[in-house]
């Protein structure tokens, strides 16, 4: 039997199909605007960091004028003709500058790690502490503070090392446990394993803390985060780790965009999603562990900064990673400035400031972005 096609059937979408295949225009690629980091965006970020850093050095209990700050830095750098009082030089160079530098390093690292985790786990609530860094570092620091705390000289050197080791151990445990029987690690199983490992480490930490009531205050101060003990030695201690980790995450920015279509599709066009995720987790963990080891657990930065950047600059990690680095650095310097001036001479825990300063700002940005959309 044969079927005759009814009238008009062949007319529907085919003309478009054929029109689409006409000869391409030779300069068509010039009209494409793929998402790239723009120079002006970097410029704004760099100005923000510079402004925050200058404010961080300028403001404090010992009054300095902007000119005094510049001459103190110039004198220390040996620039001819610059004369500064020894006190101003010491305040700027030994107290405020290392603190600003450490704040910038820690803020940049936490923000960029948060951004990378959000991309690698498709989870907007992911922060650098997702896979157990915080609980591991907390346990490490608590052990160091409680058991080596008596000799206060050794505390300064043992706490960062213990916190770093604890953080790396916790994430390694998460990674070892977070694989299914087939050997594959899905983002979901990893995150759930992280929850379990964090609960376990936190339980031990709480137990130790509760058994040693005398050191409760000092442990609690550490957990809430502070830059009060900042010095050039700490800056030198963590800077290489943070530079390496941030550099590795920056190199992965395009791959993080590729992961956003899911592991299977990423694999189909040649991006090994599991390897990218492993690289991101390793880099973010080492960097975050280094940051946390000198600053304690500063919350909220790793969520708020990348999301603010995302709302303002779009969803591509080509922009989110580098801009989170800059704005995270500036934001934490600003937060630390507030932490040490609001109740001066007492200091607020830095984690309290980041949350109370960041949350309202974030809500404003969120509302604005919704209105624009």
């Amino acid at each position: 039997m044969t079927l005759a096609p009814p009238e008009g059937v062949g007319a529907s979408p085919k003309p478009l199909a054929l029109k689409a295949l006409r000869e391409p225009h030779p300069e068509r690629h010039l009209v494409l605007r793929p998402t790239r980091l723009r120079a002006w965006q970097v410029g704004v970020g760099a100005l923000f960091v510079a402004g925050c850093a200058f404010a961080g050095v300028l403001v404090g209990p010992y009054d300095l004028s902007p000119l005094e700050v510049f001459t103190a830095i110039a004198a220390k750098l040996g620039i001819a003709g610059a004369h500064s009082s020894p006190l101003a030089t010491a305040v700027v160079w030994e107290i405020r500058l290392p603190r600003v530098a450490l704040g910038a390093l820690v803020g940049a690292m936490l923000s960029v790690a948060g951004a990378a985790y959000q991309g690698a786990f498709f989870n907007p609530l992911a922060d650098p502490y997702l896979l157990g860094v915080a609980s591991g570092a907390g346990l490490g620091a608590t052990v160091a503070l409680v058991y080596f705390g008596a000799a206060s000289a050794s505390v300064l050197s043992s706490v960062p090392v213990a916190a770093f080791l604890g953080a790396v151990t916790a994430v390694a445990a998460t990674f070892a446990l977070g694989r299914s029987r087939s050997g594959a690690r899905s983002p979901t199983t990893l995150v759930l394993a992280g929850v379990a490992v964090a609960a376990f480490f936190t339980a031990i930490q709480t137990f130790i803390q509760q058994q040693h009531f005398g050191s409760l205050q000092i442990v609690y101060d550490w957990l809430l985060g502070t830059l009060a003990t900042a010095g050039w030695s700490q800056v030198g201690l963590v800077a290489p780790y943070i530079a390496l980790a941030a550099g590795a995450l920056y190199a992965c920015r395009r791959l993080l965009d590729a992961l956003s279509v899911g592991d299977e599709e990423a694999n189909s066009f040649g991006v090994r999603a599991d390897r990218v995720r492993l690289a991101v987790v390793v880099a973010a963990t080492f960097g975050t562990a280094a940051a946390v080891s000198v600053s304690g657990l500063i919350g909220f930065v790793g969520i708020i900064v990348p999301h603010t950047v995302r709302l303002l600059a779009g969803p591509s990690y080509r922009r989110i990673i580098p801009l989170s680095l800059l704005f995270g650095a500036g934001f934490l310097v600003l937060a630390d400035l507030a932490a040490r001036t609001v109740l001066s001479p007492a200091e607020l825990p830095l984690g309290v400031v980041t949350a109370s300063l960041g949350a309202p700002f974030f809500l404003v940005v969120l509302r604005q972005a919704r209105r624009v959309q």
Partner: protein, 271 residues
């Protein structure tokens, strides 16, 4: 042969899903993969693409691709998934550029050539005016063309499509298949396309493979594979195979309808 696969076996969770499937597709050939739900159509395609662990050999243009060689494989086989993940805020040009991932350096930026290929593909699929639009603002048909564009940007000689018409209405479904068909003819692509609709499968494919419970039970030209006996046996469906002007039509047929029921049907009374 452009694409050759020998004795592909896949087990998922200890359960055999494919038990030795072989196929060949020449340049400019279109192999349609049909079969009832759960026959292993998607698994076969995913094995060809190296997305599931498999036993057997996959060769493209004579070169064998092993497990884990995703980057070089992506230059040989491109994939249009059944349910593509479309990141809502990503724009069309960034999305299509992802298809160039296997061509530029792993961490490095895209080259001018990547942009040029992307632009060419976008223009061919009439997506150039939509290039900076976020994926969430595309219609179903536009989105499916974007997915096809990403696959074509891979410049792979083999195009693997898994039910490319699932989420589209008939017109857009035909349009996507026509586009793939035109490109196949122009560029000599080998197409492997799993497809649910037997009539579309018959009209677009020059070879059909009928899968049932992980085996190829029939292989050949559409007229040879899509027989009323085969469809009844493997799909459990009663159909009539009609030869229309455009090719074969597989039409459902209610042969077991009781004669007396026709009398009460208002449509039947008019005729």
């Amino acid at each position: 042969m452009m694409l050759e696969a020998f004795d592909i076996k896949v087990s998922l969770g200890g359960k055999p899903v494919l038990t030795g499937v072989s196929l060949t597709v020449g340049a400019g050939g279109w192999l349609g993969v049909v079969g009832p739900n759960g026959a292993g159509k998607s698994t076969l395609l995913r094995a060809l693409l190296g997305l599931v662990p498999y036993q057997g050999n996959v060769r493209v243009c004579g070169r064998e691709y092993g497990q884990g060689e995703q980057r070089s494989r992506a230059r040989a086989l491109a994939y249009v998934p059944q349910r593509p993940v479309l990141p809502a805020a990503m724009n069309v040009v960034d999305y299509v550029l992802l298809g160039r991932s296997a061509h530029h350096s792993y961490l490095g930026p895209e080259t001018a050539r990547d942009l040029e290929v992307t632009a060419e593909v976008l223009e061919r699929l009439e997506l150039l005016p939509l290039a900076s639009r976020p994926l969430s603002q595309l219609s179903g048909g536009e989105a499916q063309r974007a997915v096809l564009a990403r696959a074509l940007a891979q410049e792979a000689p083999v195009l693997v499509m898994d039910e490319p018409t699932t989420s589209l209405d008939l017109g857009y479904g035909q349009l996507v298949l026509e586009l793939a068909d035109e490109l196949r003819k122009q560029k000599g692509l080998a197409v492997v396309c799993a497809i649910h609709d037997l009539t579309l499968a018959a009209q677009f494919s020059d070879q059909l493979m009928l899968l049932s419970t992980g085996r190829a039970v029939s292989f050949g030209p559409p007229g040879q594979v899509l027989t009323e006996a085969n469809v009844r046996r493997y799909f459990g469906a009663d159909v009539e195979i009609l030869i229309g002007e455009c090719g074969l039509v597989v039409s459902p047929a209610r042969r077991r309808r009781p004669k007396e029921a026709l009398g009460t049907c208002p449509l039947a009374q008019g005729t």
